[in-house]
């Protein structure tokens, strides 16, 4: 297990090589695709800025630092503090920053395409942010599981908010629909690594929620996003479970995780209260399925065993009523 993890880390580091080389290509190189003032002639002056300017370097660094910190925070809140409430606030903050402020870009899900292009096209300049954002959650998943899904992902957070009355989907249906994300990942890579002019970033183009973050978008995508949210009220996080291509990679990495979500830290009671509390079908036969667990910590809240540093989170939710003695 440890050797496999080490091998994967080496692989990550190795793939960072070409990506770092791509980084060395200067963004401010002369424009060749558009006609320039010499070719146009007639005293025409090209505008000084022909490409959108990148975000300030320190802001990019802030994004990456925040991503790392929030992922680490999610790990700490779930594995150590075992607090659903705190994690909820954290993911709400992520939704505000990575979702509404950063307008859903850059996100690790879309960065799959950037990395795929950088690995195949030597002329493509991948931003440092895209590389970091792609690898940080995967490395964390190698050790602690999908903390990114529960605490950082804005797409996940917006779906987590709308979970209202989740039904327990049949496992077989889960498994069949879950195959879609492998297809989606494959398609996304195939479209991304095509030659520059035919290149298409389908994950970003068909992101159902980015329209909400930007408060505008193609009407059909907005309607699709709305449909996802309405379905999401009754089926927990449908995009994450059935479509998210990054979830595939996180799923693979989490198989090697050293520590992950344990519903009760030392001894399972087998009372089954957690199974009913999981909206994502990630508890099978009363055990957490770590590679599918989205780090939402709902099962901690439902667990009657008082454990961890926050016994409050472990109380049976019936307690407040008994407390209201008249």
């Amino acid at each position: 297990m440890n050797t496999v993890r080490a091998a994967i880390l080496v692989l990550f580091a190795a793939s960072c090589g070409p990506v770092a080389l791509a980084q060395a290509i200067d963004y401010q190189r002369p424009v060749q695709t558009a006609p320039q003032q010499d070719t146009i002639g007639g005293g025409y002056k090209t505008p000084p800025v022909q490409k959108p300017l990148p975000r300030d370097a320190w802001l990019q660094l802030l994004d990456v630092t925040l991503l790392g910190l929030v992922t680490g925070g999610a790990v700490w809140l779930v594995l150590e503090r075992r607090s659903r409430k705190a994690l909820g606030w954290l993911s709400l903050g992520s939704l505000a920053y990575f979702g509404f402020y950063r307008e859903g870009c850059i996100c690790p899900i879309g960065s799959i395409q950037n990395v795929a292009v950088a690995l195949t096209d030597p002329r493509y300049s991948i931003p440092m942010v895209a590389t970091a954002v792609f690898f940080i959650p995967l490395v964390v998943a190698l050790f602690f599981g999908r903390a990114f899904c529960g605490g950082v992902c804005a797409i996940g957070a917006i779906q987590d908010l709308v979970v209202l009355k989740p039904i327990q989907t049949p496992r077989r249906l889960d498994r069949v629909l879950g195959l879609l994300k492998y297809v989606y990942l494959g398609l996304a890579i195939v479209f991304a690594v095509r030659p520059a002019l035919g290149r298409d970033f389908v994950i970003c183009r068909f992101d159902p929620f980015v329209g909400f973050f930007r408060l505008s978008g193609a009407p059909h995508m907005l309607i699709l996003g709305g449909a996802f949210l309405v379905v999401g009220m009754f089926v927990g996080r449908p995009y994450c479970r059935y479509l998210c291509p990054y979830g595939v990679l996180l799923n693979w990495c989490t198989r090697l995780a050293r520590r992950g979500v344990t519903i009760t830290p030392d001894k399972e009671l087998d009372c089954g209260l957690c199974t009913g509390s999981c909206p994502f079908g990630a508890i099978d036969k009363m055990r957490a399925v770590r590679r599918e667990c989205l780090y939402c910590a709902r099962c901690y809240k439902a667990c009657p065993v008082p454990v961890g540093r926050t016994p409050r989170s472990a109380r049976v939710p019936l307690d407040p009523q008994v407390g209201a003695r008249s």
Binding site: L164, V316, V322, S326
Partner: protein
């Protein structure tokens, strides 16, 4: 709960209204766009022939641009309203779904019951005991030390507990000593020394029921029945709440039994519903 439910409905309607308005706005604009483009195009053609039409073209273009900017601004505000309304809807709907029935006030405080029970004695006072049964039982079971258990069992069956007066009378009339009675009656679980209610509620405290909140249910029943600390029977002697080890139907946990009737999958809010039929029978 109804408040949250109503708020959720209102917010949901607001969400629907926003969506409908945004869609309508989009559809109207999409329907108008080709006509406006055609108008501008034809004006541009005419301007090429007749320069005097130029201000009209400019005005037309200005009008179209302003309409578009206005729509964008309007839609942006609507989008924010939609987000806020959706947030309110979710918050209220979550509350409405998770809110349990409000707990009933403790039973003793219901005034209608006090009026119905127009009995002169205070409800805490047990009815005067008819001790003639003690003599009958002694005649039946004999006066020796060995008849202590049969006598106690007869008392338990007749009075449903062991009244102090009856025990005192047994000691007077037979060879059974108070020490023997105290020892025997406290040893066997079948004997009770305090009066029992008309119905016995057995709350299961087995493993499955314990983890699914049997303690909370017991607490709530005691609160609802206004059973004082240390006692197990409510002041009107209708219900006795007992904690028992296991009723054997763990799949229904948490579970309780009223006399012979089982009620399962309880919550503190629904536990008292299990008592309801017995209450009605009692008041009828």
């Amino acid at each position: 709960m109804t408040l949250y439910r109503r708020a959720a409905w209102a917010a949901g309607l607001l969400v629907a209204a926003c969506v409908v308005f945004l869609l309508a706005d989009y559809l109207v604009a999409a329907a108008r766009a080709p006509r406006e483009a055609g108008l501008v195009k034809s004006l541009q053609e005419q301007v090429k022939a007749d320069a005097s039409l130029a201000p009209r073209l400019a005005a037309e273009q200005k009008r179209i641009t302003e309409a578009r900017i206005g729509r964008k601004l309007r839609d942006r505000w609507l989008a924010w309203a939609l987000i806020v309304a959706a947030g309110a809807f979710l918050a209220c709907a979550k509350r409405a779904i998770t809110a349990r029935q409000p707990l009933a006030p403790a039973r003793g405080s219901v005034p209608s019951r006090d009026r119905q029970g127009a009995v002169s004695r205070p409800i805490n006072e047990p009815p005067p005991l008819d001790l003639s049964f003690v003599d009958t039982a002694i005649a039946l079971h004999g006066r020796g030390r060995e008849s202590a258990i049969p006598l106690l069992q007869a008392m338990q069956t007749h009075y449903r507990y062991l009244p102090d007066e009856a025990l005192r009378r047994i000691c007077e009339l037979t060879d059974v000593t108070p020490a023997q009675i105290a020892g025997t009656s406290s040893f066997y679980a079948q004997f009770r020394r305090s009066p029992v209610g008309k119905h016995v509620v057995r709350v299961c405290h087995g493993t499955a029921c314990h983890v699914s909140g049997a303690r909370q249910i017991t607490e709530e029943l005691r609160r609802y029945l206004a059973i004082p600390e240390g006692a197990d029977t409510d002041p009107s002697r209708t219900f006795t709440v007992d904690e028992v080890a296991c009723l054997g139907c763990c799949s229904l946990a948490p579970v309780l039994m009223v006399d012979g009737h089982t009620a399962g999958r309880l919550t503190p809010a629904t536990a008292r519903n299990a008592l309801e039929p017995f209450e009605q029978r009692e008041t009828a």
